[in-house]
Symmetry: C2
């Protein structure tokens, strides 16, 4: 375990029993009598990730004095939806498109990814219809819709250097913060009522999720592949204009702007991300974006600080800082 991983494990300590139950529910959902499906779900079942979204359902519930036997199932549904989006990202992202050229059975892999993602979404919604309250189905179907809109908008606005920071944040918010917000809202509100505390925790989740995405975008342009644990530079390859790049473009002179555009758009360019670092002050862009992430993280922490003191509140107050410091 890296020091970041053990730090996160320590933060999530107060909800460890709930996380174990969430994982059990998830694994049960991945069992299928079909061998073909079973092979695939075995594979994705091994992928754990940080499971932050699921953990937030539990933490948000405990910290606001709202815990039910169904919270681990709600957390599992949130994680299944997140897993479905990751699986579909494998079809969408540029890395996959680039691998396609080399990989003869890419088509099969694409099929697999689309169908498996659909299966995971369906499992998640089917599980939500078994719960005693409809709130999880409602909040999560709506969150999934917004998440898709965010992804579609992002794809439509590739190579758009005139994107405003506000629009960038709307899209990053829709595609990432929406599910964080839904997780925190459901933790605080499920099975119903409690609109006020639900709304406040939804805000907390939104700020945390948006900060998470901004930092993700920074790591993609300046992160170390070995530390981040996935390939970096994907956004530049895919034409996604993220906050650090938007800023570097905005403050650059005409020559710098032209050079940035060239790095993004010239056909068959190799190593776009390294080249980008060479043609503009990307460090200034990252600094600007990280300052914005820090603002959001501070706001989220202040929000958590208003809750009654408890080990769970402490975890919610420390998570934003963890997100800000993360390098993976």
């Amino acid at each position: 375990m890296s020091s970041s991983e053990s730090q996160l494990a320590r933060l999530l300590e107060p909800v460890q029993p709930g996380i174990e139950r969430m994982r059990e529910v998830m694994l049960r959902q991945l069992i299928e009598s079909s061998h073909a499906v079973g092979d695939m779900t075995d594979h994705v079942g091994r992928f754990r990730g940080k499971q932050l979204r699921g953990a937030l359902v539990l933490l948000s519930g405990e910290a606001t004095g709202n815990t039910t036997d169904e919270h681990p199932a709600v957390a599992a549904i949130v994680e299944l939806i997140h897993l479905a989006t990751l699986v579909h990202d494998d079809v969408l992202d540029g890395a996959s498109v680039r691998r396609r050229v080399a990989c003869v059975n890419q088509r099969w892999d694409n099929q697999t990814a689309v169908l498996l993602g659909d299966f995971l979404y369906a499992r998640a919604f089917a599980l939500s219809t078994d719960l005693s309250s409809r709130l999880a189905s409602r909040v999560l179907a709506e969150a999934t819709r917004r998440l898709c809109v965010g992804e579609i908008d992002q794809a439509a606005l590739r190579y758009d250097f005139e994107l405003s920071q506000e629009r960038y944040e709307e899209i990053a918010g829709a595609k990432t913060a929406t599910l964080y917000a839904a997780a925190c809202e459901l933790g605080a509100r499920y099975p119903g009522g409690r609109e006020d505390v639900g709304s406040s925790m939804r805000q907390f989740g939104y700020e945390l999720g948006l900060a998470f995405q901004i930092i993700d975008d920074c790591l993609d342009v300046v992160g170390d592949e070995r530390v981040v644990g996935k390939s970096v530079g994907n956004d530049v390859e895919d034409g996604k204009i993220t906050l650090p790049v938007l800023y570097a473009h905005k403050v650059g002179d005409d020559a710098t702007r032209a050079a940035i555009r060239d790095v993004f758009t010239r056909p068959d360019l190799v190593g776009r991300c390294e080249r980008l670092r060479g043609v503009c002050d990307l460090a200034a862009g990252v600094e600007f974006a990280m300052a914005r992430a820090k603002e959001l993280v501070d706001r989220a922490r202040d929000r958590a600080a208003r809750l009654e003191p408890s080990a769970h509140r402490t975890a919610l107050m420390e998570l934003p800082g963890f997100v800000l410091e993360r390098r993976w």
Copy 2:
């Protein structure tokens, strides 16, 4: 309008007002403030198809004396789920893969198809959570899961000539008949209770849907592209072994079997479907498959015949024959 189309329009006449309301609900769900999403949903909104599944919700409700104000919305949800599967089929099917080679922006199209399909699924589930009863959410989330399993199984069993007819029907049933069955069950049962009549109508839908898929599989190997209205021969190109081919393979001698396998698997073969007709008695396979479809259609009609006489019962009794005769 072709004679088939006007025949179908005549059959659906008794639920025409409900179909209009279903279409209004669907179109409302396709409205999105995002321009990028709006462009896409405008595009798919123009695609109408036969809307048989939605119509079956309405017919099954009326014919069993179970009609509510929410039936058109339930029908719209069923059609949105069907639309989502069609959009994802564009990513999955061989035609798309073949077009990819020629089309420089295929990657964008693939992205579009995956995200738009996800959006449509999410819209469908979100709409179902607004209904007064949870039955539609439950039945349709489960149907969607089975549909995905059927698609995954089919993909995993490509090029498997040892497939039994039973297994072929299980898969065709899961991927197609499940949604027909859910539509008919919900028509008869929504908002709840009425398990007996729901179960009988679910069977009706399953038989009708399975017959529909078997006939689809026949049209793909012997249909006329101009009449069917979509490219044919896709299953052979994609390695999907359907009932007519399974039968031709089973009754063929060793040389015929080897020739069939060769047509399916030899790399870079052009015009596999025409070649297939040349190496085996595909007509006998189609005859066998159509006889099986007729069995199913007769069973469905007998089931509908047990309902109280009405214009809606008449439509349900005539629909199976229409499905059997269809050439599109």
